[in-house]
């Protein structure tokens, strides 16, 4: 029977949660790297025993860990992230220019086909690539070298590259997202990039439809339909049917279209999940009710999923990389909260159970479906 392994990154260490295909009982292992901020852990689709983890603290900076045995043991690998050439400057919060400075890895995205190849999305926003299993890293500087780069401005969490999507039909095509620059796409494996933000509107900007400057929070796609993208922007849930060339708003009947995570069901490419949050000023669920919203129509029509989720006095947040899906049938959905709960739904969102209640604040959750 298939199994599921959840890789959970928190503010004080990492946890590995495993279950068989029923997803009823979970074994919880951790904390790994106790006391460190674990922004993201992810397994290689080509070799599920190959895991990569981003480990950092403000004291000691960035460490990258790699496991070759599914998380039983870990080895620190390369942590030298040097911007290509003269790093230059980007815009600071006050509009002045600020030197590009590496802070941390927000997201690790292993290649779909080669376990030794992995991408790192970092703060200050840049994309790095390793082809030797994380030992050395090279910047794909065509992204940061885009003429708009000097105008990129950080979001509240920093100038972070947090989303990396690799097109399974054409791995040369990748989509990335940066808060608060927006979305960019390469069609040549990362050499050159162009902004793909047409249709985004951000009323908080002086020019609300400008080419870059949008605070994109997360993007998701179903691998069977890689040109259909779903985006949770600062405000607004968006959809693209042309690989990001244009976007349409699909917030529909959501109680709030502010939020952070967005995910697509593994087998139903029009089934999308978001977690509405009250506002950018109040990062809490509306009315103190933790509700996942599901659309089965690719957006616009949304239903609240509440069975098993707290419906009073709940004021946790769900961060952008803290929701994931598995590939079992029926498909499972998982998310972690800033309150330390990890919720699982083995039935596509119809019902939810807290696997664990009291972890440190959850930064990321990734599911691996194992044979």
């Amino acid at each position: 029977m298939s199994r599921v392994r959840l890789l959970v990154g928190t503010k004080k260490g990492a946890f590995v949660l495993t279950s068989d295909g029923t997803r009823d009982d979970w074994e919880i292992e951790g904390p790994l790297f106790a006391g460190w901020e674990m922004y993201h852990l992810k397994g290689s689709p080509a070799d599920p025993d190959r895991l990569y983890a981003s480990q950092s603290t403000g004291w000691h900076g960035q460490v990258v860990q790699r496991s070759d045995d599914g998380g039983k043991s870990w080895e620190p690998v390369g942590n030298e992230f040097i911007y290509d050439g003269v790093p230059g400057t980007h815009q600071w919060y006050d509009g002045t220019q600020h030197p590009w400075e590496f802070a941390r890895i927000w997201h690790l995205e292993p290649s779909l086909t080669d376990p030794d190849t992995v991408y790192a999305g970092v703060e200050d926003a840049a994309l790095f690539k390793s082809t030797d299993a994380g030992m050395t890293w090279q910047e794909l500087s065509g992204l940061r070298g885009h003429p708009s780069g000097e105008n990129w401005q950080p979001g509240a969490g920093g100038l972070c590259l947090h989303t990396i999507l690799i097109n399974p039909e054409d791995p040369q095509r990748m989509v990335i997202a940066i808060s608060a620059a927006g979305t960019f796409r390469t069609d040549d494996g990362g050499e050159t990039w162009r902004p793909i933000n047409r249709g985004l509107r951000s009323p908080e900007l002086p020019d609300e439809e400008r080419e870059v400057g949008h605070c994109v929070h997360h993007i998701a796609m179903n691998p069977s339909r890689p040109d259909v993208l779903f985006m949770q922007k600062h405000w607004h849930v968006m959809r693209s049917d042309d690989g990001g060339d244009s976007w349409q708003k699909v917030s529909g009947n959501l109680p709030s279209d502010f939020g952070f995570p967005i995910e697509v069901h593994a087998h139903e490419p029009d089934t999308v999940y978001v977690v509405p949050i009250e506002s950018d000023s109040e990062h809490v669920p509306p009315e103190g009710k933790l509700r996942v919203y599901r659309s089965r129509t690719g957006g616009n029509e949304w239903e609240a999923l509440t069975n098993g989720l707290p419906q009073e006095h709940c004021y946790v947040n769900v961060l952008r990389d803290a929701m994931t899906v598995d590939a079992l049938d029926p498909g499972g959905v998982y998310f972690g909260t800033t309150g330390g709960q990890v919720y699982a739904s083995p039935d596509g969102g119809d019902s939810w159970t807290a696997i664990v209640h009291d972890l440190p604040s959850v930064l990321s959750v990734e599911a691996q479906t194992l044979p």
């Binding site: 403000g58 004291w59 960035q62 620190p76 030298e80």
Partner: protein
């Protein structure tokens, strides 16, 4: 041999318990000591000093014989008591954060 005390997270990362002992080329200074430390434990590269610039990370300080020598020039000789191994060189992570 020079005795070095690392903060908790760096001991864990380097896989060591207690102090580490280093053979540092003469004359031992903060710079040559850290060079020797990073050569012996490559995993510590970038965790005390930044890659490339070798700039001390903001929340790290250095103590020798109970004195904060963080802001002393990195090429100044270390006190004889540290150089001889009678006293330790301490890498300290600031008490900050939550």
């Amino acid at each position: 041999m020079i005795r070095v005390v690392l903060p908790h997270h760096l001991r864990t990362l380097a896989g060591v318990d207690g102090e580490v002992s280093l053979d540092v080329r003469e004359p031992p200074t903060t710079r040559t000591l850290l060079d020797a430390l990073e050569a012996e434990y490559p995993v510590l590269r970038g965790t005390i000093r930044d890659h490339g610039t070798a700039r001390r990370r903001d929340f790290i300080r250095f103590f020798a014989c109970g004195t904060d020598i963080t802001l002393d020039p990195a090429d100044d000789p270390l006190p004889e008591e540290v150089a001889s191994g009678a006293e330790t060189f301490r890498v300290v992570a600031a008490m900050a954060g939550g």
